[in-house]
Amino acid sequence: MILQTETLDPEVYRALEDVVGPENITDEPAILDGYCFVWGNLMICDDEFGTRPPAVVLPGSTAEVQAIVKVCNKYGLKFRAHSTGFSPNAIYAPEPILPIDLRRMNRIIDIDEKNMIAIVEPYVSIGELVIEGMRKGVRCHVIGAGCSAGVIPSCTSLGGTGTTNVSTGYAGRLPLAVEWVLPNGEILRLGSLGTGAGWFTGDGPGPSLRGVMRGFGGACGGMGIFTKVGVKLSPWYGPPEIEVTGQSPSYLTKVPESIKVITASFGSRDDIFEAMRELCEEGVSYALSRRGPFTMIAAMTKSNEETYDMVQATNFMEENAHALNLLLDASSPREMKYREKVALSIIEKYNGTIFPETPEGESARFVHAWMGAGSIKGVFRASGASGVGAPTAEESLDLVKRVNELGYGIKERYAKEGSCLDDADPTWVTPFEHGATGAHCEMAIRSDVMQPSIRQAMRELITECEDKVVEKKFALHLYEGCMRTDPNKETHDTAGPECLNYHVWLRKLKKAFDPNLVADAYFYTMPED
């Protein structure tokens, strides 16, 4: 029996078709199923497929996006836009909503290397902007999801943690001016864009509406659609192109002279965290993170068998139980000399030893920092399309260390039961802005979530992590409410009362800016009345 699902009223379909043209709208089920399928769905709804949408549209311009949103308002049709769609927050919906696929809006409008601003449309990926920026001596942030993720959603709509946070800052702090189609179909141009002055700031006049656009977490589509963003860039001191040799899947990148890859192993969690703290104070890092040894192995091997062999047959896991992945960058040889001296001294101070990376290892660390190209291998290849990140927290390194300890303790139990990968401590820790605004931690757990019993165990793990994190006053729930785990209840209902009832204010914002409640808010919030 073929699955029958909700379709659009022909009048609504026609109204949307009038906006985008017949070739840019469809209600073909075979195509629609591609818009409700994404990794992570299994954990949410026990099915790789979420709810099939009634249609999908492909706008080609801001005017078309605005027109679509107005149609949605007119007919009460919920919508959610996405870029590359590489997240359940982009794709999963428990009820039929209209996905707005922004693939056709894919221009890098300008890279202003002097003022270090890139103006991009929603489908521009991190990888594309990295490549184009290098030629001009600039680079963008690199999000944890990696190079295929969109630049705009990574800094406006979900989180913002990535490999370069220590030197670029948290991605959520990087949008400057924004062209924003609000849920009611009006266009808001933030900051200097609103007066026609340019793209250089998103704040003002007076209060900054960037505070409505997103918080620590983005609105995941629940506050409309960002059609152009001026993104703050950082300097790139390397060559305009990177030399790559070898062949897939093990490309070897030539680490440029302006970058130094240092992997250091520490004897304890205390030591590695102190080393990170002090490296932050020195402000010498291009990329700085603690990554689990298994993730490091996965990123540098060409197959799971090779990963397994390396885990079993070498001491890599033990030697890198507390491994620091540090990359330095420098605009001159003398600067590099200084930075290297500082880094090595700190490592020595905290009893760290430099781990002698193979060319494959060094390349893997560089590629991961440079454009996040190791993310898929490191996270998804091992267990095939599953990754769970819990617990998470973003605050001081001292707090993050406690969360790390808590999470690892919980995970060890589940690993011993065989419910998830027994891979030592897989927690990823990365500071923001040389530690000045804290650090992020996230424990990436790999398991065979295709097995219902394992899925259930992982849900219990996540719940246990979340509950303990809040109970101990460490942090809010996963990504501050963005990663919803209960289909029947918003995370905000549990988190809000712990945090001065922020959810009440958040709901008022939603109601004010989306009076018809058409910007789908499954991963955001809905007003109570």
């Binding site: 699955l3 591609g34 990888g127 490549i131 990177i242 998804f380 399309a385």
Partner: protein, 424 residues
């Protein structure tokens, strides 16, 4: 194999979109980063490799049924394999095999593309994919004074292929190929009007039976003819003989070479000397069937199991074909050995070459899409500053030639053999 055998691959797609682009680490320009013509033209996610994997799973689960639009989505795809090699840069999956099984299932279930039905009908009757009469198959070789292997014996068989046999505009290339080999003293013959299709293109359209039929027929004929080597100037045929026949358990006992491999050998051995200057800036297009799809087949039989609580491994260990071992160096070496040539590479090369647009039944059923893809490649060729785009496959050549005729572009389209001829 069947679609069901690839269920884990389909379920394992993360929707990362790597299948749409060349690996980011080797991308040089955003403009030339997309690798999948289908998604580039049609934009809906379903047109990408990953999108078709999802559709395959949906079909398997009874979520969707066949429809015209569904068939369009499956068949508006050159089966170029780019999504497959891009995905395999980071995952151990077989997207290409899923796409193939989807087509096979369509055919088995009687869901046929009318244009393909026509061509396959012609194939069954006349043993070629060109809707031509088989009697005329050998006409391209008139006056060549080459051995007829239905009557004679030779060490080497030159297999023209359907496109070269019946596309008069491309006859000079096939003729040049034979003449070059003859001049080098190769003991060469052809099957003439007795030559038949390789079965490769039909296989890609989902007609697996045709491949099996022609595999048996061709390998029997080669045995009967006593040849030791089969050389072809058609990339499709090369891939069919070298890879597909092995895949279906009918690996030929003869050596299979593409003309570029043969010429490269002759040049290295000093038997063929390229001495005349050909002052031209050229760029080279890697045909899919000579490049990523021509990587030797890996026969593997095993299982997947989970270890360490969350890591799956293959037993026995499994090698994946990621496209890097196609025929890339011989054509380049030939070009570089031509005096006076200035060789410039495009961004998307070797296993990440942008498809010319002709494969997978697209030129037959969706000629506009084929033309569009060719035009995109020509844009990339022009961006290098080259005066000529050189290739090594008649399907690529035909599609490029038609595209430049349409657009009025000045860039010349050559087969490698034509350049070699100019250099002798």
């Amino acid at each position: 194999m069947s679609l069901k055998d690839y269920e884990l691959d389909m379920r394992g797609c993360t929707r990362c979109s790597y299948c749409k682009v060349i690996p980011h680490v080797i991308t040089k320009h955003k403009e030339f980063s997309t690798v999948c013509p289908s998604i580039a033209k049609y934009n809906f996610h379903g047109y990408s490799g990953g999108g078709k994997l999802i559709a395959g799973l949906a079909l398997l689960r009874g979520r969707i049924d066949y429809s015209d639009k569904f068939l369009d989505m499956i068949y508006q795809c050159q089966m170029c394999g780019a999504c497959d090699v891009s995905c395999k840069n980071v995952r151990d999956m077989e997207p290409y095999e899923v796409l193939l099984e989807l087509r096979t299932k369509c055919v088995e279930d009687g869901q046929l593309v009318p244009a393909h039905m026509l061509v396959i009908d012609g194939l069954k009757k006349e043993d070629n994919m060109m809707l031509e009469k088989k009697a005329g198959r050998g006409n391209w070789a008139e006056g060549l004074n080459v051995k007829d292997l239905t009557k004679d014996k030779a060490e080497v068989l030159f297999h023209a292929g359907c496109r070269y046999s019946f596309d008069e505009g491309l006859w000079p290339v096939a003729r040049t190929a034979v003449k070059l080999l003859q001049r080098a003293g190769v003991d060469i013959g052809i099957m003439g009007s007795q030559e038949t299709c390789c079965g490769g293109r039909a296989y890609e359209m989902g007609y697996q039976g045709e491949l099996t039929k022609y595999a048996d027929h061709n390998t029997d004929n080669w045995k009967a003819a006593g040849v030791k080597t089969v050389v072809t100037a058609c990339a499709d045929c090369y891939q069919a003989f070298k890879v597909l026949y092995d895949k279906i358990g009918k690996k030929p006992e003869v050596e299979i070479l593409h003309i570029t491999e043969y010429l490269d050998r002759l040049i290295r051995a000093g038997t063929m000397k390229l001495t005349k200057e050909v002052p031209m800036a050229v760029t080279y297009h890697d045909p899919c069937h000579l490049g990523r799809l021509a990587e030797p087949w890996i026969n593997w039989n095993g299982t997947r199991r989970y270890t360490m609580g969350g890591l799956y491994i293959w037993e026995p260990p499994r090698e994946f074909r990621r496209g890097a071992n196609g025929v890339y160096d011989p054509p380049r070496d030939i070009i570089k050995s031509i005096p006076g040539i200035k060789f410039v590479e495009m961004d998307r090369i070797k296993e990440y070459a942008w498809c010319c647009g002709a494969g997978g039944g697209v030129i037959e059923a969706y000629p506009e899409f084929a033309a569009w893809a060719a035009a995109e490649r020509i844009k990339e060729a022009k961006a290098t500053g080259a005066e000529a785009l050189v290739t090594a496959c008649p399907w690529c050549a035909r599609n490029f030639k038609d595209a430049v005729a349409e657009t009025g572009d000045k860039i010349k389209i050559y087969d490698i053999t034509e350049l070699v001829e100019q250099a002798i």
